[in-house]
Point group: C2
DNA sequence: AAGGTATTTTTTTGATCAAATGTCGCGGAT
DNA sequence: ATCCGCGACATTTGATCAAAAAAATACCTT
């Protein structure tokens, strides 16, 4: 009880932990999630676990499977298109709004995330790629200072994460044209529209990759 | 214990109950919500109440106030504009998608809701207006068969509900041009674009009403 | 007699509660 | 105005009960 200066309620810790597990593919689509299983793994009572699961469920990161079981959802093509539509409606706008709030230190931070992202790609490290890609976008959207839109975007990332993980894990992180560089270039000139466009391109790229896979098989 | 054929877990019952209370203005913006208070009112243990509150919180229908207290949020103008942007991005599209799935019995149902809505207006019954307006939209969006987009729309309604309630409660339900009639007319001819446009107009109307109030004062 | 199906038993998991614990805020005393 | 203690409330746990899945057993059909 000495290495944790931050005192956070258990249910929040569990929520964040689970959230990351989903976001970065530690839980595969279709995989069942049980309360008592997590109680064993995370070493907390069941109430905090219950709450975390409930919360994730209401965010669409988990779904009720049949009669009281929850699992990581497995979007089909139609659902993936919904996610795509929503993301493309919200995220470029977030990027545009964020642009005017980007300070030098923020840009530095974004560059750092992007560097780590590229390092992950070179290493073929899918988890690292997903993590840094998420950080990049999350940090940017956060700068928009828009609570409502950001929470929607976060929800959508939770839904998109597992599928992305599967596809990238299979086909590797290579051949991903780097739209982040373009976005950051536009940030430097404060051109919100261009930032939005770059982000849109970035998103479309990931979406297309999953979509092509879904056209052929269930993942 | 015989008049309840449906056996629903407590936490879901509580969730729905609370949800309705927020959606239809039984809880005013800014009003604090305590676990133990609800335990007394709803006659259940605190675990189900906790979960319901947690769920609503993650949907933005409630917010953490200060240090561990939750209350009904009170959007300022900036947040209201976010809600507006998101709703206008999502809901017309939902309406468009729904159009091709509307059968005769569905249309009948929508007409019924709209009739009750108009009756509520004539009666000056704000709660009834909100309830039937919600039913109308929810039923329509449900026909789109799009789980992801519908859940976002629901989230947004939860955020918009309390503010709408305040404004309508103050200025009455009069002078609301009926965009529903136009929407239903378009449905009959199967014109998705026109349905979408009508719904957009309907939403814009409600949004504007709140926005004008927020320009002047905090509600 | 073998295979598969129905039935029961066992085990796993979820739902709820009541009590123990800790924390924060408020109000009175200095 | 500041400090301290009281009370209200949130948080967490562990126990208990209920429900469902999984496993084991028995039964029937061919």
């Amino acid at each position: 009880m000495s290495e944790k200066p931050a005192k956070l309620p258990d249910h929040q810790r569990v929520y964040r932990k689970l959230r990351e597990m989903i976001l970065f593919g530690e839980l595969a689509p279709g995989q069942p999630v049980t309360i008592q299983g997590l109680v064993g793994v995370l070493d907390v009572g069941m109430t905090p676990v219950r709450e975390a699961i409930r919360r994730l469920t209401s965010e669409g990161a988990l779904i009720f499977k049949g009669n009281r079981r929850v699992s990581v959802p497995q979007p089909d093509l139609a659902q993936w298109n919904e996610i795509a539509f929503a993301r493309l409606s919200i995220e470029p706008e977030l990027a545009r709004l964020a642009t005017k709030n980007i300070g030098p230190s923020d840009l530095e931070r974004l560059v750092e995330y992007d560097d780590q992202l590229n390092a992950s790609i070179d290493r073929g490290d899918v988890r690292g790629y997903l993590e840094n890609n998420y950080r990049f976008h999350a940090y940017l959207y956060d700068l928009a200072g828009t609570e409502v839109l950001s929470s929607i975007a976060n929800m959508l990332w939770l839904r998109a994460g597992p599928s992305l993980r599967v596809v990238l894990g299979r086909y590797g992180t290579a051949n991903l044209p780097d739209k982040h560089a373009e976005a950051m270039d536009a940030m430097r000139s404060g051109d919100g529209d261009r930032v939005a466009a770059a982000v849109r391109g970035d998103i479309e790229q990931g979406i297309a990759q999953v979509r092509e896979t879904l056209l052929v098989e269930k993942i």
